[in-house]
Amino acid sequence: MTNELPGYAELHCLSNFSFLRGASHAEELVARAQALGYEALAITDECSLAGVVRAHVAAKAAGLKLIVGSELVLADGEKLVLLAQDRAGYGNLSAIVSLGRRHAAKGEYRLTRGDLARGVPDCLALWIPAPASAATWAATAAWLAEAFPGRAWIAYERHLLPEDRDRLAALRMLSATSGVPIVAAGDVHMHVRSRRPLQDALTALRLKTTVDSAGRALFANGERHLRSRARLAQLYPSELLAETLRIAERCDFSLDSLRYEYPDEVVPPDMTPSAYLRAETESGLLRRYADGVPAAVRDQVEQELALIAELVYEPYFLTVYDIVKFARGRGILCQGRGSAANSAVCYALGITEVDPAQSALLFARFISRERDEPPDIDVDFEHQRREEVIQYLYDKYGRERAALAATVICYRTRSALRDAGRALGIDRECIDALTSSLAWWDSREQLPQRFAEVGLDPAAPRVVKWLLLAEQLRGFPRHLSQHVGGFVISRGRLDRLVPIENAAMAGRSVIQWDKDDIEALKLMKVDVLALGMLTAIRRALESVGARRGRPFVLSDITREDPAVYEMIGRADTIGVFQIESRAQMAMLPRLRPARFYDLVVEVAIVRPGPIQGDMVHPYLRRRQGLEAISYPSPEVRAVLERTLGVPIFQEQVMQLAIVAAGFTPGEADQLRRSMAAWKRQGGLGHLRERLIEGMRTRGYDIAFAEAIYRQIEGFGEYGFPESHAASFALLVYVSAWLKRHEPAAFLVGLLNAQPMGFYSASQLVQDARRHGVVVFSPDVQHSDWLAAPAGERRDAVRLGLGQIGGLGAAAGLRIAAARPFRDVADLVRRAALGRDDLDALAGGGALAALAGHRRQAAWAVADAPLQRDLLLEASSCQDDVILPALSEGEDLVADFASLRLSLGRHPLALLRETLTRRHYATTAALAVIEHNRPARCAGIVTCRQRPGTAQVIFLTLEDEHGLLNVIVHPRLAERQRRELLSARLLGVLGVVQREGGVLHLVAGRLVDHTPLLGALATSSRDFH
């Protein structure tokens, strides 16, 4: 038995980035090829390079040679595989893929022979002749030899079909006559044979049928996997296998050789990037520090500029500066965040608003020498105007040099179950029943129970297959979508770096890589993100300025106002950025922020990371003076002093690793990445050893080291960077100030920036009214399209016509421009309104001034002469019909149906008598009940939440007095699942829990009172 297994390189292999064809992850393919001893593996997804970065990373780690390529099916049906030989070839391949994608709709591609006629230099081409086109083989071979001189092969792929032998003979003859050599290939669709069921299921899905019906459309067997070399030796002639090695040898391209180059138009033609950056920084400093630049800041600026110069990152900062300058020039509010954003240079440039003179941030992490990566800056823009910024980027750099990053949409549990079920022909009702009964918090173990609940037997063979397929399918990429705002901009043509596709949105182009791929290859990405609160703040500032008669800007807001902190400490924060959520409001009375840095901590601490890592309680105790703070060493003190000895920020963990455990900055960064990924990839094991060892050798005791490690584990991927927290804290303060001192303007800002934030318009309005803001309903005689201050009053808001459901913006703007009106006919004529507009206005009660109550208005409007009926002028006044007004309850229902809020009494105020009869207390009454006393309360469910891996579920109930937070324990949640998930008006019997000024009702029993709501429309936000 000879030990000489032939060498082999697989040159035709699809990963699951060939959507609905490939049945294995690139990582699995690489691992298997390595285990089988292949010389090399080519990943050749269909007209796509979306999966190559993952393959590259996996191949590098495994030590396997990777060849980058792509399978292309031309318009005439011929199938080719192109392999990149070197960097130039890769660029050509990428350009061809982009060309093909550009000529077709999203998800498809189109390439003709003409496109390849100029050949694709520095690429090798494999042609897989199809039996159907046998008549034209000779011609095609000739074309191939000409288009790819010396770089073309005929591929013979054997899958144990009866015609194999004849086919080989025919191909050999073709090769002889055309002179194109012949090589063996695999047409690999999966890494092992046992993936056949999944591959069949994918085929069925692709053809929109089921595996039972797909019949011969499925592959006849499972041969399309990475086969052992022994098997290959049996199946193919040895010279064909040897040819694969010759091809592999000619390919010598690694993604590592991709070098990124910054665009150079950000610098004026006669200056160097360095000089320009220096100049802009200086002028910025002058602007920021009118009274002279503090010495500490000057030092910091010099250090930063030196580091930037050393690493040659000037163009990056200047690119971001250019974008921010554009936005400010247009009056778009924006703010940068991210590791590099909180630097003195960025403050000077106006990229960020966090003043280094006022915050004691350690900036050393902002760029790491060792990491050799471009810095990371995200810029938040007003969400309603972000599109202007995006179009600016496309205009400035062109569609060939700027594109959005992609997001890979993967199969999740629900979608995997759905598609796997569809492929297996499971009744659609059944699938829907199962997936809709899955609450988002159900884990894998609970699936069998869910199956049983909907009447499926978890042991039935089909169900078993269903589960198995769904499990394999989870995590598979489904399609590419555009990233929220990550832009990649390059100096040369971007499509020679990575293929560019059409996005679903018109006017957008997307690269085929996502942000992880971009990071892995160290390309520059600027995140152009949208933040609703920026819009709200800008609008609120404008509102204040309009009333005062002079512009009012961010810098006019007095900092460190005690009244603002007092309000925050009371958790009176509905509408305030970041600290309005239920979890935050439960923390505020305990933390009682009193200065800016406390807000920075508050933003970071109420997150799963610190909560799981058990940082919250020690911090609170130390803050309240209940626990002594001690530091094992001055180095640790320097890192943790500002957070009372408890690591809260990502940077602190990294700094600890450096100063206490002797990690280098590069290794500390590795630790940060591992923290983010350890749950998926199984643990910080080796790092744990190093950490604890390192600390021990530096004299820290084991208990301290273990504690630190546990906290790091808890951090996971949720540890918040300090720089992010600082940027956000500024917005927290500003929005809180506005709420405290200009509540009417603040409401105007929030309403006009919807949808955003944690609360609905209804809740925002209720909260504002409780704070003394008078709110007027939309009225054609007084309202603009947007909400606005009411007249000259400081404390009143007039809701806009935009609040009315069913009314179009164009009509609304016309009304606002033409008001006031004499009567309905006048309104119709001068605002050119149509039937639907009138119905919407009547339904929204906006015609009260012109036509009376809703019914009267509906009557008047039903006969209103529309624009078309020029001759019917005076008919409406002849119908004097008096219609009875709506009852309060009916009015309420109509309000919610049309405006999604009501300015009348709260629905529960109408039901209060009924509820009192059933012994339910109001939320206000609950506020004075002592800890551990029983209580009952009922309210409309406005929020359901199950944070992270916590088992308890939080509910928020709303009544006419305010909100109440309810805690539901897992056993009760299981028992009363139906009430929990579907009740809109819920009665809770339970026990009051008070802790440090925070009130919860711990539920013992839930009662569904939804029928009492009748026709009232309510909605609840349900999320993590």
């Binding site: 011969r216 009702e429 909907v454 509906a858 039903a862 019909v881």
Partner: protein
């Protein structure tokens, strides 16, 4: 359900809170074991046709309106012994067919329709008292836009709508809606198009659950028989020969019914049917029924044209099939059909009837079929195990492997499933064409699943 909302719920579902109008997800949240079926408009309209035909028993003037059947009974009262008796007969007949009906009688068709729709089971004969019955009905009976507008004005009943000034109302909700009201209340005439009884009678009835015992089918067939009887009555004809086809998952059993003279009486037809069914043993569960009237003639004593022979290809094929079956035995006549499957044993199916077209588009199928690999003419019902000598298959002599291997691996989805035919499992075999000692070309395979072995599967000649 339709468009994500529940349309109708049975009593058990309603008890759990699943009402019409509830969204599908909410319905499931309330009752996880809920069984939901999508609305099938085709079936609904076919059912309506059947009911209309049945109604022909009582009056020739039948009209369809949405899911309501209108019977103009003014002229039939004496035939049935008065109004009360007629209403009772209709009710009983409907009950015997297992139809749940809401019934109302009124002087105008629209009023009768609306009353029945609202579940008001009233018998109103005087136009004067009509308003009294119609006034409390909800405005939702009117078209949606008009109803919404009226509700917007605060008028929620027909009576309230009638109190508003007519001209002003017409300008607001449209003259059509006001006319509807007038027609219902008898102020305007309301002529209705007659239901046209079909030329030939052929009606299908899908069964709610598969039936395994033939006698049970009598009850199921009752509705079809009733429809046939009504159709015959309306045409004043009788049936001489009819076929009841029992459809299975694959295949069909046909029962032919013959009568000595043309009859239209449902009871008699049913009796003959029952006789046949009582003696029938079903080979497979029945999924649906289809009744065809093959030979129809005028009933003696009536003058009416003879209807043309139903005729057609299907008829002749059916007749041929019956004769062959009668001579050779029902189960001996089979029609082979090509199936789209890699597994050889599943690639052909023999059914009692010619197959309908396969699920994949014909273009795709034809392109697939054109690339069919060589297959033997004759496939064994079950693969025959072969002896193995020195690693080679043996069948009365050594077998020489000519071509192969052809690897077939398919069918994992049938593995372990109940109710699949033998051979429908996950097939994993290497097929070869071999020549046996006698020079005959045979098709053999080596089983890849444990414990392996060689098998003979077919003959090429």
């Amino acid at each position: 359900m339709a468009q994500g909302r529940v349309l109708l719920a049975d009593a058990a579902a309603q008890r759990a809170g699943v009402m019409a109008g509830v969204g599908v997800s909410s319905a499931r949240a309330l009752l996880p074991a809920l069984s939901l079926r999508p609305r099938d408009l085709a079936r609904e309209s076919a059912a309506m046709q059947a009911v209309a035909c049945w109604a022909g028993r009582f009056t020739p003037r039948v009209s369809l309106a949405d899911d309501t059947v209108l019977l103009e009974i003014g002229r039939c009262l004496r035939l049935f012994g008065g109004l009360r008796a007629l209403v009772a007969t209709i009710g009983e007949s409907a009950a015997s067919l297992d139809l749940s009906v809401a019934l109302a009688v009124a002087p105008t068709p629209l009023a009768a329709h609306w009353l029945a729709l609202s579940g008001v089971a009233v018998v109103c004969t005087s136009p004067a008292r009509l308003a009294q019955h119609l006034d409390p009905l909800p405005v939702t009976l009117l078209p949606a836009r008009a109803a919404a507008a009226l509700q917007g004005f605060g008028s929620t009943t027909l009576g309230a709508a009638r109190r508003l000034p007519a001209a002003a109302l017409a300008r607001r909700i449209g003259a059509d809606a006001v006319c509807l009201l007038a027609r219902a209340f008898g102020e305007l005439p309301d002529p209705r198009p007659d239901f046209v009884f079909p030329e030939q009678f052929s009606m299908s009835l899908p069964l709610p659950a598969a039936v395994e015992h033939a006698p049970v089918l009598v009850f199921a067939a009752r509705r079809l028989v009733a429809a046939l009887s009504g159709w015959l009555t309306a045409r004043q004809a009788g049936v001489r020969r009819a076929t009841l086809r029992l459809r299975h998952v694959s295949g069909e059993t046909a029962l032919s019914l013959g009568f000595s003279e043309p009859i239209a009486d449902a009871g008699r037809i049913e009796r003959v049917l029952r006789e046949r069914l009582d003696r029938l043993t079903l080979t497979a569960p029945v999924e649906s029924l289809c009744l065809d009237a093959l030979e129809v003639a005028a009933r003696p004593g009536h003058d009416g044209a003879l209807f043309g022979d139903a005729g057609g290809e299907r008829e002749r094929m059916g007749a041929l099939r019956e004769r062959l079956g009668a001579r050779l035995g029902e189960t001996q006549v089979v029609f082979p059909a090509v199936c789209n499957d890699h597994r050889p044993e599943c690639a052909t199916r023999c059914g009692a009837q010619p197959e309908a077209s396969p699920p994949l588009s014909s273009a795709l199928l034809s392109s697939l079929l054109s690339s069919l690999p060589p297959r033997p003419l004759w496939l064994l019902a079950a693969p025959e195990s072969l002896r193995e000598v020195a690693g080679r298959p043996y069948r009365g002599g050594r077998l020489d492997l000519l071509t192969g291997p052809e690897r077939i691996e398919s069918g994992w989805w049938d593995e372990g499933e109940r109710g699949t035919e033998t051979g429908a499992v996950d097939v994993r075999r290497d097929y070869f064409i071999a020549r046996d000692a006698g020079g005959r070309a045979v098709w053999i395979f080596r089983e890849c699943r444990a414990p392996g072995g060689w098998f003979l599967h077919g003959f090429f000649s």
